[in-house]
């Protein structure tokens, strides 16, 4: 028997236990996509004006910031962390962009500088979480107030509103004569990039491993801290991008832009099937989650219902989604596939999801 030198295939293995269609269709992602299709179809038939192509136009413009931020947020939550400061970074980006523009810095340079600052803000979160070993929940609650405070403080009472029309028009432009916003193109590109990074690169494999078991990942050579630092920086950068978008779309740089957006993003990501424990989730589901919330909001508004119902539905969907996961998991455990760490039979602290003092 020679293990390191030559091959001695003694056994063969099937790659998968279930056929491909079961693996694709019997997932949280598929369920949420199906729900989206059902809601969309229902709304198109029942709700007046919903089938109008302009619905798509407004919907895309509306969900763009949430969708943008949801991408890095998905990766962060999969590593088992969270970033609540994203909406404040949006405000920060908007204000910096505005102030630089007011001071006469050319548009593109102002944009790049604002984005850099936001990446630094994100890295600040990342350093506190990885180098200092602080819980990201507490850290980002703190930086949420800090970044927002800086944004609001820097601009004070004013909103900067003298933006060149060309830029605002670019953000809201349509592709040709269609009702599809031009924004869709970079958005789809970003989605593809994030999906590839998460699902088809060694870095992405490290993200999942870090979320499922920080220790096992570290013991396998995954640099968990560096991974998280990169993701927090990325989150700052993309949130900054959303801030630029906000500024240009509304032609107004304000410190209070996107207030409360962080919870919407987290809700959408979790609805999209990402586990708050980390280690589980996929980009298609998240996209569907974001669009689903946007669609329901759009449909209800068209139906003349108030914003309040939208809140209730968002909350119910969120809770239903996670409870469904836990109920499914509970049944799954009977067949022996459930994550060990939720199982009541095993109180071993070694597997508790939020293991503290892990140094």
């Amino acid at each position: 028997m020679s293990l390191l030198a030559e091959k001695t295939p003694a056994r063969t293995y099937a790659a998968h236990a279930k056929p491909w269609w079961q693996r694709t269709l019997m997932t949280r992602d598929a369920a949420i996509i199906a729900l989206l299709v059902v809601v969309w179809t229902y709304a198109s038939i029942v709700i007046l004006n919903f089938s109008d192509p302009i619905t798509v136009y407004f919907l895309v413009l509306d969900v763009t910031p949430i969708l943008l931020i949801a991408l890095p947020m998905t990766l962060i939550i999969i590593t088992g962390e969270i970033d609540l400061s994203v909406a404040s970074v949006v405000g920060l980006s908007s204000v910096l962009f505005g102030v630089l523009h007011r001071e006469g810095v050319p548009m593109v340079a102002a944009m790049v500088l604002a984005l850099l600052a936001c990446a630094v803000a994100g890295a600040f979160n990342g350093v506190l979480v990885t180098r200092f070993g602080l819980p990201s929940l507490a850290v980002t609650i703190g930086t949420m107030a800090l970044f927002r405070g800086i944004a609001v403080g820097a601009l004070g009472t004013t909103a900067i509103t003298d933006w060149p029309d060309a830029w605002g028009d670019l953000v809201q432009a349509r592709i040709g004569d269609s009702q599809i916003p031009l924004m869709t193109v970079p958005l789809v590109a970003l989605i593809v990039i994030f999906a590839v990074v998460l699902h088809f690169t060694p870095f992405g494999r490290g993200i999942f491993a870090a979320g499922l078991s920080k220790d096992a990942a570290r013991f396998s050579g995954v640099n968990v801290d560096r991974t998280k630092l990169i993701l927090f920086t990325l989150s700052g950068l993309v949130s900054g991008l959303a801030g630029i978008y906000f500024t240009l779309r509304y032609g107004s740089a304000r410190g209070d832009n996107a207030t409360g957006l962080e919870l919407q993003v987290v809700a959408a990501v979790l609805l999209g099937g990402v586990s708050i424990f980390g280690g589980r989730g996929a980009i298609p589901g998240v996209i569907a989650g974001v669009v689903l919330i946007g669609t329901i909001g759009s449909a209800l508004r068209l139906d003349g219902l108030s914003a309040n119902i939208i809140q209730i539905i968002t909350g119910v969907l969120l809770i239903a989604a996670v409870i469904a996961a836990s109920v499914l998991g509970w049944t799954g455990r009977i067949v022996g596939t459930y994550r060990r760490q939720h199982s009541s039979d095993e109180p071993s602290s070694k597997q508790s999801p939020q293991r503290k003092r892990s140094e």
């Binding site: 003694a10 293995y13 499922l212 760490q341």
Partner: protein, 508 residues
């Protein structure tokens, strides 16, 4: 049963965790006023049995009687209520709370108004500690206590319950000789007062000195019960293992080459001091010592998952940068950790992803990796190690312990290492797989791999290693050649206090 009911009786109790049958048919009958030894190899199901008695697990089948009454506990509080006290194998304390609170949690003495009587608690703890001769400050938090101190608190906790049945799951593993003697005194006193005591230990000297009856378990099943006076140590070992011990260690001759792993003066405050060792091509070096001696910490520091304060590590002559496991892997170091479930495997990830995790960078094409690529590599290595699994996307956590260990080995061998550090290679593995692993290690050494093997099982160390290095309390107390390494020599070095470092020749 004709005579008076036993204090504790289990009949054909079974327990499975998913596909893992931890306990097939566990039986145990303990009389009041006796000390009963429960022995079995690692993974024989002893702790599982204990946890069923404690009310922590619910049995899948079988009978559980206390003083002749059928019982069925929903949780550990019920069991405590019924007079069952348990000292678990791993100490389970609340790190943020004080020693006193840990001892009384859930049953603190209260006054009429529900106010906790702290003074009474403290008085009782002081009294308990005095009886046990424990010098622990009752008001300090338990965080940062040594394993031995934590174990002593567990013992105090169990004693403070007025228990009819006391179960101790390897309580002495981390204790010094003095502490063991004191514990034995306490156990005997309790016995004389009519308590039924169950004592689990891998140390036969203790078992024979303390107990009056002995039950042997193997592979989750009951084997035998005898009065201790009617059996010999050899007979027990034979029953434990189920075959001749000498079969177990198929050591192959290997040619020892140049030094591959060299460690010089490795020190980490509070954990280990001035560790220096060399492992050569084709050589298996054993790292022996008692639990808590700091061997795992040394290994983790070498690999880079832990930091260290001073010292240096080189692999094939090139220094391994501290704190960078990825670099260590690239340089040819592989590390099979002691705790498979926490460190070795991502239990909730498929087998294939587990095997390819350290090599995913190498496997990627144009920076991209796919399940297909992973499966091809994983299938190859799983086959070489004969992992018993149906599909590659089965979660690693669903495999039995032995197969999990094979997956870990597959994962590390797929990195094509030059040096393999393997911590407790056969912990919790059944006897069959155990010898497979041993054969594998021998083969690997023969192929020129340098292996550093940490093991708490003396026969394994003595059977497998070309050289044995012994650690005690974080200090290197002996380096013994294969010939010098007798059980007595290793044990003496392992229990030596570091100020009295052993002279190797004297020890042999």
């Amino acid at each position: 049963m004709p005579d008076t009911p036993a204090a504790l009786e289990l009949r054909d109790v079974a327990k499975s965790f998913g596909p893992v049958r931890a306990l097939r048919s566990g039986s145990l009958r303990v009389e009041a006023g006796s000390i009963h030894a429960l022995v079995g190899e690692n993974g024989a199901g002893k702790s599982t049995l204990v946890k069923i008695v404690a009310g922590l697990y619910r049995r899948d089948a079988g009978d559980y009687l206390l003083a002749g009454e059928q019982v069925d506990f929903r949780n550990t509080a019920d069991a405590k209520q019924a007079g069952v006290a348990v000292i678990y194998q791993e100490p389970t304390l609340f790190p943020d709370l004080s020693v006193t609170e840990n001892i009384f949690m859930g049953r603190q003495p209260t006054n009429r108004w529900g106010r906790i009587d702290r003074a009474a608690m403290r008085t009782e703890v002081v009294e308990l500690f005095a009886r046990l001769g424990v010098p622990i400050e009752p008001d300090r938090p338990t965080e940062g206590l040594s394993i031995a101190d934590q174990q002593l608190i567990e013992i105090a906790k169990a004693l403070s319950l007025d228990a009819k049945v006391l179960i101790m799951d390897e309580p002495t593993a981390a204790l010094s000789g003095n502490e063991v003697d004191r514990l034995m005194t306490v156990a005997r006193t309790l016995r004389d007062q009519g308590c039924a005591v169950v004592f689990i230990s891998h140390r036969f000297d203790e078992v024979f000195a303390l107990c009056d009856t002995i039950t042997v378990m193997r592979d989750g099943a009951y084997i035998s019960t005898d009065p201790i006076s009617e059996v010999t140590e050899d007979e027990i070992v034979q029953r434990l293992v189920g075959r001749e011990v000498s079969d177990l260690y198929p050591k192959l001759e290997a040619t020892v080459g140049k030094p591959m792993l060299e460690v010089k003066g490795l020190t980490s405050t509070g954990l280990f001091h001035d560790i220096s060792l060399t492992v050569r091509e084709g050589e298996i070096v054993g790292l022996a010592g008692l639990v808590g001696a700091g061997r795992s910490e040394v290994a983790q520091a070498i690999f880079g998952v832990d930091s260290y304060d001073s010292g240096e590590v080189t692999l094939d002559g090139r220094p391994i940068p501290p704190g960078d496991p990825r670099r260590a892997i690239e340089m040819g170091l592989a590390f099979v950790p002691e705790d498979r479930r926490q460190h070795g495997l991502v239990l909730d990830a498929p087998i294939s992803r587990n095997i390819t995790l350290p090599t995913s960078g190498r496997l990627a094409r144009n920076g991209l990796i796919s399940t297909g690529i992973e499966n091809r590599s994983a299938a190859d290595w799983a086959a070489r190690l004969e992992v018993k699994a149906a599909t590659l996307d089965a979660l690693a956590g669903t495999l039995s312990g032995g197969n999990q260990q094979k997956v870990v080995l597959a994962k590390w061998l797929s990195t094509q290492p030059k040096v393999l550090i393997i911590d407790e290679p056969t912990r919790g593995i059944d006897v069959g797989t155990k010898s497979e692993v041993h054969r594998l290690l021998s083969t690997l050494a023969q192929e020129g791999l340098a292996i550093l093997m940490i093991s708490s099982e003396l026969p394994e160390v003595l059977g497998m290693a070309d050289r044995v290095i012994v650690l005690s309390e974080g200090h290197q107390t002996a380096e013994l050649s294969r010939e010098e390494a007798t059980p007595e020599a290793v044990m003496r070095a392992a229990t030596a206090h570091h100020s009295t470092t052993l002279n190797v020749s004297e020890a042999s």
